[in-house]
Amino acid sequence: MFAIASGAPDSLFEELWRLQQQADELFGTWASPSGGIRSQPRGSFPAVNIGHTPERVDVYLFAPGIDPKTLDISIQENLLTVAGRREIPTHEQATYYRQERFSGEFRRVIALPEDADPDRVQARYQDGIIQIGIERREAARPRQIEVH
């Protein structure tokens, strides 16, 4: 098999992975939740991907089979918290051969870039992915500095 043609949507994840490695090298800590103190081991539910542009940050949580109404999504300072529950019923009469899917409560805390604007957040759920888009503050905008 040859590599997928440039720009094909299929290649985005792979591209993300490569770019993450560069982001780790270039930006250090906040850009790398993988090394953050709130990071969770690979394989935690739900899996998380984060992409960004100069205008916004998009967080994708791979959470199939949940009721989006039961989700609790909040932002405090630059910490995004997503909590919820996925209950998988077990069939008493059946014989189970594999039970690999996550069942129970989950919570993931994601450190966002400092310029993420907690007042401009949108979330949606489609095909089992929670997408949370957070706008970034404009760099040119003067920042109010409070004196305590």
């Binding site: 792979e14 591209e15 935690s44 998009d58 791979f62 996550f102 089992g128």
Partner: protein, 134 residues
Amino acid sequence: MATQSEVTSRPSAAGAPERRGAPAETPVRPPVDIYEDDEGITLCADMPGVSKERLELRVEANTLILEGTARLDLPQNAEALYADVRSSTYRRTFALSGELETDKIDANLKDGVLTVRIPKRSEVRPRRIEVRTG
């Protein structure tokens, strides 16, 4: 450590990243639950990001093949900060046995969860065996 060439080979914001020499994606093996009851076998697979159009489910030579492609709604010039999921394709296969009716498989995809129901042939469904005394 990033070498100079790695840093400068960073794709431009306009996209069109350098693709030459990129390794082929290794598909994600979706986690599954599999259980059996008197009527058949049920398989549930987590395939988030896959819609009906991007799912392929087929039986080839008594092997059940699950394949799908996830799609993320990414802005054009997005760059990654972090990625648990590093492939957009899913694939997993299961060998089926002869007592299963592969032409009567029923599948349903909802919110990224694929549920596949494979009925058993009626003649192989369990019969209660009476134990006679005397």
